[in-house]
């Protein structure tokens, strides 16, 4: 679930169903293998909390396609955010990077790419775990409204949105709606 915060999410339309999400993740997995000419040195790092389930599924697909078990980590970027003091920020979930990232190709995974500020924080956090050879970004939904020069490498679907809309990626698919009080 992406900002704005508060209220109850009310879905207005289904953007992708479960089968469409699965096909998108399969395509993304093929693209990761193609782009990196295999999976040697590739590590997947999921952004807490929305990216975790997506990353697990991508890692599973990578194994099915190429037979390689890539390391999967999780990253909570709360302590690296640039809006600490501007809104409530709590590190809610575990950071667990199981391998030294120096020399790796890190594929960051999140559910929705919006302003880019979470990814900015994630790039900062990653440097504390080594110096990756490259960092790539995979997202299920790119909803636009970037506030920083950040772009995804792998996209499930480009979804034009209004700023006040909310995109919800869940196991049944992707919903577009808004928060109501």
């Amino acid at each position: 679930m992406t900002p704005p915060y508060g209220g109850v999410f009310v879905a207005r339309s289904t953007v992708m169903d479960a089968a469409q999400v699965q096909r998108a993740l399969t395509r993304i997995s093929h693209e990761i293998i193609e782009r990196n000419r295999g999976l040697e040195d590739v590590a997947v790092v999921a952004l807490q909390t929305g990216g975790v389930e997506i990353a697990r599924r991508i890692a599973h697909l990578l194994f099915e396609i190429d037979g390689v078990d890539v390391p999967v980590g999780t990253l909570d970027v709360a302590l690296y955010r640039d809006d600490i003091g501007l809104r409530p920020v709590m590190p809610e979930a575990a950071t667990d990077i199981p391998v030294d990232l120096t020399g790796k190709v890190v594929v960051l995974v999140d559910d929705v790419l919006f302003t880019g500020r979470t990814i900015r924080a994630a790039l900062d956090a990653l440097t504390d775990f080594g110096r990756p050879r490259a960092v790539q970004l995979a997202v299920v939904i790119d909803r636009g409204h970037r506030e920083l020069p950040i772009r995804p490498d792998y996209v499930g679907k480009n979804l034009p949105t209004r700023r006040d809309e909310v995109v919800d990626v869940n196991p049944e698919g992707v919903l577009l709606g808004e928060m109501r009080k």
């Binding site: 900002p3 704005p4 915060y5 508060g6 909570d76 709360a78 302590l79 690296y80 809006d83 600490i84 003091g85 501007l86 809104r87 409530p88 920020v89 709590m90 590190p91 575990a94 950071t95 667990d96 900062d124 956090a125 504390d128 775990f129």
Partner: protein
């Protein structure tokens, strides 16, 4: 988004009784995150960049001050150190003037230790709006971060961490020593009880508070009898001044009744752990032999967790923006 966020009221940590069980649980849960940060090869996050924290210790302390300072630096905050001995206080400046002078330098939080109970609370009324005061130990009153780090250390020992709602339900904890003159004891009792533990105070009557009204504890004077039933032995320092006060006839009497020696260590249950807030007076509350050879002395974990707990508290007060009342 940002317009909807309104800064909260005063954000202080004066005692654990003040913040209550829910906040205690929340801080311990948050501590897991900072334990992980401290295990990294670069144990530093930018969370409190631009904040300034003044440690004002009007009473000697090495570990608490260094622990707070380390915690603040690992959150990328600036740290100002003030010690009473080398300050204008010794030239006759009042406490209030000292605090206001430091405050005028642009401080976001004061960490205060003082030999008199209530000084941190007093200071919290002098500081400007939006400035936090953290109690680093005041008189016999309170030492909230010690209570938090002791509780965290026990939860971590039993469950590996506090983040998934792990608690101390049913854990039997004996607090042994000079409870009466201990700010640690009071904060430990509150923290342990908040996490569901059963606490027994073990001390001679002269070293217990005059009134235990409102303390969620039982009391015994018979250490040997209760020892096999305890899961945790929380030792407190027993200062030699207590002899001069006439509260102890001789140190030897105390050691015989309440000192943790090899004989008593043999009476401890399988898995029972020993904690001590430090500094340890060897040969009184515990022998060197037990301290050095017992397999379940958690003193080093307490020190390491002290940094993480203080990072959690500092972030909770200065960074999180969550409602703390």
């Amino acid at each position: 988004m940002t317009a909807a966020f309104e800064p909260q009221g005063p954000r202080h940590l004066l005692s654990l009784e003040d913040i209550g069980p829910d906040a205690i649980t929340e801080i311990l849960r948050l501590t897991d995150r900072f334990v992980e940060v401290n295990e990294r090869s670069i144990p530093r996050v930018p969370a409190l960049r631009g904040k300034t924290i003044a440690t004002c210790f009007f009473e000697d302390s090495t570990r608490t001050r260094m622990s707070f300072e380390t915690a603040a630096k690992r959150l990328s905050a600036e740290v100002l150190n003030f010690s009473a001995g080398s300050s204008s206080l010794s030239k006759g400046e009042s406490l209030r003037d000292t605090i206001e002078t430091i405050g005028a330098m642009g401080v976001d939080a004061f960490v205060v230790r003082h030999r008199s109970s209530g000084v941190p609370e007093q200071i919290s009324r002098w500081v400007g709006e939006g400035v936090s005061v953290l109690n680093g130990g005041d008189g016999w009153h309170s030492h909230p971060t010690q209570g938090l780090l002791d509780a965290y250390t026990l939860v971590e020992h039993l469950h590996g961490g506090a983040g998934t709602g792990h608690r101390l339900d049913g854990v039997r904890i004996g607090i042994v020593g000079d409870v009466r003159h201990s700010r640690v004891a009071r904060s430990d009792v509150t923290a342990f009880a908040a996490m569901g533990a059963q606490v027994t105070l073990i001390a001679p009557s002269t070293l217990l508070p005059a009134s235990l009204e409102g303390w969620p504890v039982e009391v015994t004077h018979d250490f040997d009898a209760i020892l096999p039933d305890l899961d945790v032995i929380a030792l407190l320092r027993v200062q030699r001044e207590r002899l001069a006060d006439g509260l102890l006839p001789t140190m030897q009497d105390y050691v015989e009744g309440y000192g943790l020696d090899a004989r008593r260590a043999d009476l401890m249950g399988q898995g029972t752990v020993i904690i001590h807030p430090g500094p340890v007076v060897r040969g009184i509350e515990v022998t060197s032999e037990v301290l050095e050879t017992h397999p379940r002395v958690l003193v080093q974990r307490q020190v390491a967790n002290g940094v993480a707990v203080r990072m959690a508290v500092l972030f909770w007060l200065l960074g999180s923006g969550v409602d703390i009342t």
